[in-house]
């Protein structure tokens, strides 16, 4: 029992369960948006399992690579690697194991689906984390593209090819990711400076970053709205998306006109909730 608790406290934080969970929901929503038979349990299980493993694997590999900057930042210094609870070698092996299992399972289910899941992992670990994150503030674009891969993968698994709706769903997540990363880079800008990571606030200033967050949130809502319409969401759910988008738009404008830490963080939370609810609606429509 003690070993089980110890393993959980050591390894569970490595996968950022909340972020992994949200990306997993986008993958499921992408699949359900194709109005697939919900009771196709082997496929649902395969989708959930392979995505969970691949997303978790890429998160662990990111943590492994970023352990030096995590140690310099107050917000991340208590993570398992910088705090010494998990050794770099353990984390690397754990990350590889999860990634290989996830990608392998995904490829076994469907070749195109597997390739997209692999692309997500590659963009996230290699392009975003290893190549660009320490060089340019624009690395977030690749972080966004990587984050959009689970929903695209789910959609592709449902219909067998990449379509317009899949691209819109990907764009919705792509535009949502900067609201997440930029909000944190503003809130913890001293941390990022200390770690030497270039961010939008340190490169272009806080006001420009706020404008980018607001525009990005609105574009995410727009892409989600278009995707929901193209999927054929019922009028009731479309009305709800319009209402929630209105709230997001107002908050984005207030965030630009009367910027404050509270409003900016509120916009980030609202945009996250919006994305979650929109994905849940796609799932609910298929049920």
């Amino acid at each position: 029992m003690a070993v089980k608790i110890n393993l959980k406290s050591k390894y569970w934080p490595l996968i950022k369960s909340l972020q992994t969970g949200l990306l997993l929901i986008t993958g499921l929503a992408g699949y359900m948006s194709a109005k697939c038979p919900v009771l196709g349990w082997p496929t649902i299980l395969g989708l959930t399992g392979s995505l969970f493993l691949a997303i978790s694997g890429s998160t662990v590999l990111n943590m492994w690579y970023d352990r030096d900057i995590d140690a310099k930042m107050q917000r991340t210094s208590k993570r398992p690697l910088p705090s010494g609870r998990v050794s770099p070698r353990e984390a690397l092996l754990f990350g590889f194991l999860l990634s290989i299992l996830g990608i392998g399972w995904a490829l076994a289910i469907d070749l195109l689906y597997g390739i997209i899941v692999f692309a997500g992992l590659f963009f996230d670990v290699v392009v975003y984390t290893m190549w660009l994150k320490r060089r340019t503030a624009w690395s977030i674009v690749w972080g966004g593209i990587a984050g959009g891969m689970p929903v695209l993968a789910g959609r592709v698994l449902g219909i067998g090819y990449v379509d317009w709706v899949g691209v819109m769903l990907t764009l919705a997540v792509l535009f949502w990711i900067p609201t997440h990363i930029l909000t944190f880079s503003m809130r913890y800008s001293d941390d990022y400076k200390r770690a030497g990571v270039p961010t939008f606030p340190s490169t272009y200033g806080f006001q420009t970053t706020r404008v980018v967050i607001s525009i990005s949130s609105v574009l995410a809502a727009l892409a989600m709205g278009i995707a929901a319409y193209e999927v054929g969401l019922s009028w009731g759910f479309l009305r709800l998306i319009v209402v929630l988008s209105g709230g997001l738009l107002i908050l984005a404008v207030v965030s630009m006109v009367r910027p404050s830490e509270r409003t900016n963080f509120g916009l980030f939370k609202y945009a996250s909730l919006y994305m979650l609810l929109a994905m849940v609606m796609l799932v609910a429509e298929a049920l």
Partner: protein, 201 residues
Amino acid sequence: MKKMTVLDRIVLLVTGLLAAYQVVVGVDNLETLAMISYTIAFGVLLVACLLLIILGWEILDSSLVVIVSTIIPLSLSLGLVSEYLPDFTTAYLVFVCVGFLAVVLTRYSAPGKVAVIVLAVVHGVAGMIIFLLPIVLSIRGETNPGFALVGVGGALIGIGGLLLSFLKTGKPIISREKIIALLPWLLLLMTACFVAGFSLS
């Protein structure tokens, strides 16, 4: 400012979910204006609940609160007039537009008393319609008796509006803490009455 408790958040979340449910199910066989009006009313209620949960009670200090809390009764009453008193729709739509503009303009440009009078008139008319129309219609047998619950919701929205107004004028008849403690429950009860009333109509 009183910190929002977990229970407050849960009550607001349930209120938001009820409002979201009403937006999704809508009301059957309605012409466009009524549908848009009801969607705006419950949509604003939903977004307001989400913003309260996310940003806390501090947003009640914003000058926008009075404007937002005017949209709900105005749009709900417009939906009712459009659905049950179609002959008065155009006239009431004009009142709603002018009333809303007047509330917005006087909030920022007119002296305190004028703003309060305008707010009282606009809220009063909208509140009376929401309170009386469903009750009268159900007593006359023109709708299901359960529709009277919308009127009960109308009475509660009036109380909620009064409490918020007291909060904004800084001269509350009950303490700010009590108003804030009551508000989530009042919003929940009001929304539950509206949703139940519309589903029984």
